[in-house]
């Protein structure tokens, strides 16, 4: 065995145990499927507002706003946010209704790595609209307890 193949082999061995423990684009897609079912998800109407370059992944401000009249007949029922590379794909699921007046939800999230964040809004008529945002994280949400 030459040196190059040996190094490639050890790299695979060390990476494998961790790969399965974290959310992946596939597990995010699966989490989205669990929410939307067989319905089509269209791009648009949703605005996902978060900084493109994040120095500290521990608290990242995020605001999701959706264009909607928010009337009893036509409103946003739910807003879901997903991530690709945190340990779990779900970030939050909010339930809204006409009493909200505006379909806007803000919070602060943790990010473990540079990745794509996806927000999906469900309308009262059962349509799904989405938006995605790429973020670069320079300092990941802390993985160890501060000593």
């Amino acid at each position: 065995m030459d040196r190059r193949r040996f190094l490639a082999g050890t790299a695979t061995i060390t990476l494998l145990p961790f790969a399965s423990a974290w959310a992946t684009p596939e597990s995010m897609a699966a989490a989205i499927r669990r929410i939307v079912g067989a319905a089509a998800v269209r791009r648009g109407r949703v605005t996902l507002d978060l900084p493109p370059l994040i120095e500290n992944g521990n608290t990242v401000p995020l605001v999701v706003s959706v264009e909607s009249p928010m009337t009893a007949a036509d409103h946003i029922k739910a807003i879901h946010v997903f991530n690709e590379k945190n340990p779990q794909p779900n970030v939050f699921s909010a339930r809204l209704g006409p009493r909200n007046g505006r379909a806007v939800v803000g919070t602060r999230i943790k990010l473990g790595d540079s990745q794509t964040i996806v927000a999906i809004a469900e309308t009262s008529s059962g349509e799904f609209w989405s938006a995605g945002a790429d973020v670069i994280v320079t300092l990941a949400a802390c993985l160890e307890e501060a000593s």
Partner: protein
């Protein structure tokens, strides 16, 4: 007892859309981090935040470990009538906090 910060207008015009912001002191421990002794720290998060207006639920959000420590949530509400807005946080380890604010609608 609970360390909660709530920011909302005290008065509003009928039909006005107001923003309500709420922050609560909580570690939001993910359950994925090893502690200083090397073993995983047990998960301890707030799972749900709900808001009611005079008893009717107007907003609910299910949180995950991906929400930052000391969870902050902001949302909007239509000022329908005077009364109280109740905010409730519940989560792991029997965590349960309720706060309410009074809003006068003219």
């Amino acid at each position: 007892m609970a360390n909660v910060l709530i920011n909302a207008p005290k008065t509003a015009k009928r039909g006005e859309v107001i923003e309500i912001k709420a922050l609560i002191l909580h570690p939001m421990e993910t359950g994925f981090r090893p502690g200083t002794n090397g073993s995983i720290i047990a998960r301890n998060i707030i799972e749900r935040f709900t808001a009611t207006w005079n008893g009717d639920e107007i907003f609910r959000i299910d949180l995950s470990p991906a929400i930052a420590a000391n969870p902050f949530v902001s949302f909007f509400a239509v000022a329908t009538d005077s009364g109280t807005v109740g905010l409730r946080w519940s989560g792991d380890e029997g965590f349960q906090v309720e706060e309410s604010i009074a809003i006068t609608v003219e």
